[in-house]
Symmetry: C2
Subunit: 313 residues, 2 copies
């Protein structure tokens, strides 16, 4: 059950007043290095600094008035928590964000700054789910999943839709793969709004669950989370996996040194503050140049929320 073109168009119109249409950058240095025409869709300049704003906004706007009146809740220590907080505030909806008590003050302050009601809990998945369930039981709030919900996936698709509207001759879209919400949305956009445009995923070797999932035909998990690309440590879900199976051509894996080198290129040469997850996609293009040479490549820079005191340079 692939979401339709009409669903995607409706989402784009629905969220347009609440998000930025982000710019597309190019770099002659990167083009020379890759032999490709690389279009950087710059979601680090999205509101709150990441594409997650799109999915969060679409998910909340897709709720009924009665649901919205009761608020929303999510458990996330990262970009999705911030995105839900900011999207909810923009829409006049109360947002509860469940965060592990290990979350840094930078992350707590960001969520609080966007008006999110923070609920701290122990740093385990079980504790987070319990805290979320308690808020649902107490308030009637709707729980939002960061990546495995169709309205989130469809909202995420709007980034690639914008890119394809501006650059209809794009041959390949490439995006990082974490929980699967961005790559599934990106592939949906290519499927509905481009001719002969394929979608490729990029994933750290250390957390290559999606690569293995495509091989085995079932959702695989990761034994470790030992990658600098902290946004990509999660695994796929039952809503996005079928879309990925059907519409993603391949997943390219990159190692940690390749991620850091690509991140350095994006910062030093392109002057773009992006998070390591974004660099994973460029690292994949650099690693497997024969796939991209001579092509127009739309690369989704997922976000730019990094802790400046913890850079790998």
């Amino acid at each position: 059950m692939i979401p339709t073109k009409e669903q995607l168009l409706a989402a784009r119109e629905r969220i347009a007043p609440y998000i930025h249409q982000t710019p597309i950058f190019r770099s002659s240095t990167i083009d020379a290095m890759t032999g490709a025409k690389v279009l950087f869709k710059s979601e680090q300049l999205q509101r709150m600094g990441a594409f997650k704003m799109r999915g969060a906004t679409n998910a909340i706007l897709s709720l009924s008035d009665a649901q919205r009146a009761k608020g929303v809740v999510t458990h996330s220590s990262g970009n999705f928590g911030q995105a839900v907080a900011l999207a909810a505030r923009s829409l006049g909806v109360r947002a509860h964000i469940v965060m592990p008590d290990s979350a840094t003050s930078v992350k707590r302050n960001a969520v609080a700054g966007y008006g999110g009601q923070i609920q701290l809990c122990a740093s385990t998945l079980k504790a987070r789910e319990a805290a979320t369930a308690a808020i649902v039981a107490q308030t009637g709030a709707t729980a939002l999943h960061p990546s495995n919900a169709l309205e989130v996936i469809i909202g995420n698709a709007t980034a690639a839709m914008e890119l394809l509207t501006e650059q209809p001759a794009t041959d390949i879209l490439i995006a990082p793969v974490g929980g699967g919400g961005l790559i599934a949305g990106t592939a949906l956009a290519a499927h509905h709004f481009a001719e002969d445009c394929i979608t490729i995923g990029a994933e750290p070797e250390a957390v290559d669950d999606a690569y293995r999932s495509l091989q085995s035909g079932r959702i695989e998990t990761n034994q470790t989370t030992d990658t600098i690309a902290d946004g990509l440590r999660t695994h796929l879900g039952d809503q996005n996996f079928p879309i990925i199976q059907k519409l993603v051509a391949q997943i390219i894996r990159v190692n940690e040194a390749e991620i850091i080198e690509a991140m350095r290129l994006l910062w030093e040469r392109c002057k773009l503050v992006v998070e390591p997850s974004s660099a994973v996609a460029l690292a994949a293009v650099l690693k497997q140049p024969e796939t991209f040479r001579g092509k127009t490549v739309g690369l989704i820079l997922s976000g730019g929320n990094v802790d400046l005191s913890k850079l790998p340079f």
Copy 2:
């Protein structure tokens, strides 16, 4: 003897094929903090990463064919050396760049990567000037000054010209003050291409030679160069000082903590990789908000060439 509107228009047309028309960014966070509408003219996305590309290109294009055939030379360990190297290569002109032997390999590699012929010398002004003079004597190359030459100043003016073309209702232009070439060019653009737009300079307290020069009426120098804004350690020259005296309304001084805080805002909130000199201009807006509140402020982000291993965060 203020350069004319026609000279500026001719320069803009002359250099257009060789430079980027850089984008203008806005940030709702910065607007909320300042009460102003701040337009970030993003010269960090200029070719080679800084506005200096404009002045260097205009200076070389203003030479006669006979002069160009003999090449150009400059002594600079920073952005201007790289700008001359790249501009010269784009125009098929030989460029000699005199650099102190203390220059980091990063800077040498950048100049060499742009095709510049590096001549190392001792790390004193006397040694640099001697090495430059020797190259002039030997090759007939034309020596280019980074900031105190009219064609460089006029080339630099094109950044603010672009901004005023896109945003004609700009009330205030603000730019950092180092050798005086950028602020003089910016003030010229405001003078010729805007009505009631004033120009303000921003300078580190530690190297406030321009502030003192406007007070005393003669070119002052700095006793120390103890600022993170390494592009602003130089002093004004006889070509740009009269322009600055006539057309710059005031200079706002900021301390090192204020510069670093503004730089953090630009990186963390705006996702822009900018050098400390660029942050000096934002720091000035934040320091003296009553001057800017309710105004449309065009802020020239001078460049983005930083050593990622030496960030102040």
